[in-house]
């Protein structure tokens, strides 16, 4: 999966999750076109949201990022970078 597809996948995953901050952050369009990152703090993401995001990453890419690891990444851009790195 390429970078653009990964970004779209994360946005779609968040849209189908309990995480409400993505669209409220005002950063979604910039994230999708690769010009902006979205820190987790802007996502209003609780432990359920973290688990949902990890599940979506694994289901859609086959790459396992566990919740504690995801929290450490700190932003959606870092999640994209991690997946790209592990895909290689």
């Amino acid at each position: 999966m390429g970078e653009g597809d990964l970004r779209q996948m994360l946005v779609d995953a968040i849209d189908g999750s309990t995480i409400v901050g993505l669209r409220r952050s005002g950063l979604m369009e910039g994230f999708l076109d690769g010009t902006a990152d979205i820190p987790f703090a802007a996502l209003e993401m609780d432990s359920m949201g973290v688990m949902e995001l990890c599940i979506a990453v694994e289901v859609n890419t086959g790459i396992e990022v566990v919740p504690a690891e995801l929290v450490e990444l700190g932003s959606l851009g870092a999640v994209v970078a991690t997946i790209l790195e592990r895909q290689q």
């Binding site: 849209d15 309990t18 669209r23 209003e44 599940i55 396992e64």
Partner: protein, 301 residues
């Protein structure tokens, strides 16, 4: 249910799939089932049963125990000595009722519309533990597509205007009262459903925006159009729109809704020592305030 759950997790090979299995189970389990499950998982001999490398079994075991323990701890905040005894039945595909053992006469039916996670801001057993099966039965009407109900409630209908009347026909009769409860993206469906199912009371918590752009890609009419059409039918019904004090977007949504439903009461959930954002019901649990909150705004006395 418990055997099915343990059989399911025996097949998972990653922490995330284990979490998914537990989340799904906690969306449909009763309080007694959760207690049975956590008792089994906390037996000293219990180990995660899946086929994972030996060095990861402890990690999987601890992970599973931690999630269910968190749920059980929250259940205890209801202040009851034992798990409430609800029995789960399927009313129609995707729609379950969690019923007490007594007849509906004199009791209340709660028709609940959860948000995208399929839950009312917390695992279902926590919610059920805060009700009394002698007083209420709960029907859960999730959007299994996790699409904010913009494709209706499949398979009941691919739009809300099609699905809600069909839902009404599946609801059991004989209750003294019907109320609707919706959280997050389930808030607007709870408002729309009230006149259709004959609810006298609606509680919507953190209801989503009427102008959610995602609905532009949905089926049927927009949320705003649906609410404009439904608003006159809410006259004479008690409507409460609750939101977290630190969730300005939800406050704006409540303001917009009160323009359509002027008699609706806005309730700000606020604490001095904690920010209350979108998930406004959760901070009530630890403070042992969820039960009185439901009693007050769903009229359960």
């Amino acid at each position: 249910m418990i055997d099915e759950f343990f059989g399911h997790i025996a097949r998972v090979t990653s922490i995330n799939m284990l979490n998914l299995a537990i989340i799904d189970a906690l969306n449909v389990m009763t309080p007694t089932e959760v207690i049975d499950m956590t008792t089994a998982m906390h037996h000293e001999d219990w180990r995660f049963p899946g086929k994972v490398p030996a060095e990861r079994i402890e990690e999987f075991t601890d992970n599973a125990r931690a999630i269910v323990s968190h749920t059980v701890r929250a259940m205890y905040n209801a202040g009851k000595p034992a798990p409430e005894r609800y029995t789960r039945f399927m009313l129609t595909e995707g729609v379950r009722i969690f019923a007490g053992t007594t007849e509906p006469a004199g009791r209340v039916l709660i028709v609940a519309f959860p948000g995208n996670g399929g839950r009312l801001m917390m695992p279902l057993p926590i919610i059920l533990q805060h009700f009394s099966p002698g007083q209420v039965d709960v029907v859960m009407v999730p959007d299994w597509k996790k699409a904010n109900y913009r494709f209706g409630i499949p398979p009941l209908g691919n739009t809300l205007e099609e699905a809600l009347p069909k839902l009404s026909k599946h609801l059991p009769g004989g209750y003294a009262r019907i109320v609707t409860l919706g959280t997050s993206s389930g808030g607007i469906p709870a408002l729309l459903a009230a006149p259709i199912v004959g609810a006298d009371t609606v509680l919507a918590v953190g209801a989503g925006s009427l102008d959610d752009v995602r609905w532009a890609k949905g089926n049927g009419r927009s949320k705003r159009q649906l609410m404009e059409a439904a608003a006159p039918g809410l006259a004479g019904r008690r409507v409460t729109l609750a939101y977290g004090a630190q969730s300005p977007e939800d406050e704006v949504s409540a303001d917009v809704l009160t323009r359509l439903v002027p008699h609706a009461e806005k309730v700000k959930v606020a604490f001095d020592d904690t920010e209350v954002k979108h998930v406004a019901l959760l901070p009530l649990v630890n403070r042992e305030m969820l039960r009185p909150f439901f009693e007050k705004y769903l009229g359960l006395h």
